[in-house]
Symmetry: C2
Subunit: 386 residues, 2 copies
């Protein structure tokens, strides 16, 4: 872990030097974990040169680097003096993770410093995974694969979508799911993933996910809505891959009895879109081109109207994954992102077929030197629930 963290600190210091920043102060859970391998209540400070320091408001102390106890962030400048750390002239703070109140408080404390954003540079660093991070994602992916195989055992005739989801969640926890589902952005509150059965797959949700679902309560407007599972219905399971801090993302489709020929055809168009991406993706390929190709294949199949939703259509077909489920790169029409080795992303061509539900696929990929490697290898055909 020491080497892992040293590498991350050096990469961040390089960014700081390129941007003319003297220091980077991090306080959000996700970036604290990224930079220390732990969560604690306080601040991680990395100067442009030298070793980082942690300033901790209450135990536990992070098990890395030098730690100092503080009551409040106003004590940071005096600690800097005591430790011989220069007061930063240009300080990086997380504008996309800290609340306005938290950010402005730190801004005041370092009143003489020019403040620049830490969130964007850190998200770009996080986008390229280290070998250890990739190993963590493989562990999550392996558990997700095990779960997929258990889903048919969760089903019994007459149950609702939420009944099935509860059985799945139970097995996820038994397989070691850490529970909390990490998303970036202040409003994406999701529990353990989403299970969409039948017509509920067409219902839009407020969050920027591939598909929605009405949910069970106005305060949790996503996913299962109490639909009774009936013959001819597609059941799409897009449950969390949170078995380590590094999440994988994987969707499989199950069916109650057989699905219509139209639904089966749409499913196979999704697999074709996936195969085309797998053949094309490699370092240097533009994410916008991957989206365009996916949309074109959907169009050619006459399925553009139900690609990535029907009543509402998501304008992406994939997204980076890692500590958050929605990281860069994004596979959208206007994405500026270009694939690089070490990126991990989910690719999820999906269709909502009227009268049936959602079909399609989602897998997590690692970008390698000359292509992509699928981390979530498991049967991609529709699995019948009996």
């Amino acid at each position: 872990m020491t080497n892992e963290l040293n590498e991350k600190w050096q990469r961040l210091q390089q960014v700081m030097q390129e941007n003319g920043a003297d220091g980077c102060l991090v306080a959000s859970n996700r970036n604290l974990y990224y930079l220390t391998g732990s969560l604690f209540n306080g601040y991680f400070y990395l100067p442009a040169e030298g070793q980082p320091h942690c300033f901790v408001k209450r135990p536990p102390m992070p098990p890395v680097t030098e730690c100092h106890t503080i009551r409040k962030p106003e004590q940071l400048p005096e600690w800097f003096v005591q430790l011989g750390l220069p007061q930063p002239r240009v300080l990086m703070l997380e504008s996309a993770q800290l609340t306005y109140a938290e950010f402005v408080r730190l801004q005041r404390i370092f009143g003489s410093a020019q403040i620049t954003d830490a969130s964007q540079p850190l998200s770009w660093l996080r986008m390229i995974k280290t070998p250890w991070e990739i190993g963590q994602m493989r562990l999550s992916a392996q558990r997700q694969i095990e779960l997929c195989a258990l889903i048919p055992q969760c089903y019994h005739k007459g149950m609702t979508d939420i009944d099935l989801q509860i059985e799945i969640e139970y097995r996820m926890r038994k397989l070691g799911s850490l529970g909390y589902f990490h998303t970036a952005g202040s409003g994406m509150e999701v529990y353990m993933g989403s299970l969409l059965a039948g017509g509920n797959a067409a219902t839009p949700a407020p969050y920027d996910f591939a598909l929605g679902g009405g949910g069970l309560h106005p305060s949790v407007p996503l996913g299962a809505n109490g639909t009774r599972l009936e013959e001819g219905m597609a059941v799409m399971a897009d449950m969390a891959g949170n078995y380590t801090a590094y999440q994988s993302d994987m969707t499989r489709v199950y069916s109650v009895g057989r699905l219509s020929a139209e639904a089966c055809r749409a499913h196979h168009v999704a697999l074709e879109i996936e195969a085309r991406m797998e053949a094309a993706a490699r370092p240097g390929v533009a994410c916008a081109d991957l989206y365009a190709d996916a949309l074109q294949t959907a169009r050619d199949a006459g399925l553009a109207d139900c690609f990535m939703g029907s009543r509402f259509q998501a304008k992406f077909v994939g997204h980076g994954v890692g500590l958050d489920i929605n990281e860069p790169p994004v596979l959208t029409p206007r994405s500026q992102d270009v694939l690089q080795a070490g990126m991990t992303f989910a690719f999820e061509p999906k269709f909502v077929v009227a009268g049936v539900g959602a079909v399609g696929i989602e897998n997590t990929y690692l970008v390698t030197e000359n292509g992509v490697e699928k981390l979530t290898v498991w049967n991609e055909e529709i699995v019948e629930l009996k």
Copy 2:
């Protein structure tokens, strides 16, 4: 619901008029739900006089008031012109919920307006519950009570704390738990509550909860840590009361076999602290006085060293509950809060007894005109697991 929302809007307009604000723009999930009874992707705008408007970036539309479709917040000022809404000279924005980037973007859009904080006034409004909100909390409390009775059935000999927690979570979901656990603050990431067995109860966690626990993974440092449940161990179950959007909070202690006389005595001191609070609490009573009395009772019993933790001691004995599990008022040594009718708060005197674990109690109370009413009425003695 219409009357409910109208009352909330009027209360907020009164605050706005007192503060000289012309408008309040809300974008955080919790305040959107408070003010519209739903979640959506966009903004709720309330002028100081007249009806509110919702500006929605993607469906679904909230089922209240006038809704308008926008792509981005930069379109808000032109919408205001079109709707005949005056551009606000003093605008309230949520400084404690929006990220710095989100807040500053809105600040720029309403460049001519003076910005004042909406978070604090909204949290004070939310502190006093309406009859409907109290009804929702009663529903959550009722389910929590049902759960407590089911916990003994979840136990079998040889299991670990996390094994037991998973069984409890499964029953919570079957009872209608909505899953997602709502906390205020950018970093309090908790799954379905906390189960603390034996010595793990003494381990501090980074979050501002009554007790900690080491957790199962450095990215989720709270609660159960894989402790095998053994004879003489206390098992404290402080699981989420999230059966409606309005959460209740309730803790009960279970034991594997019998606990030591010292642990039983500490448990009864906690019940005594609770009884003293119940006798004293009514509108006008200072929350700091309730804390001071609790601490004094712990001191008199010679238990000050293990009150609210041992290796780390939380400096509160209660907290407001509702849409978030950690709302005002706070029952801390220096709290400025004073009880008012319609407040709901959790009171949780707890002790960590060396070699045994955590004992004590937590219940949710409603402040009435002349006292408090306990919403989570159930056996308060330690329940033996067999």
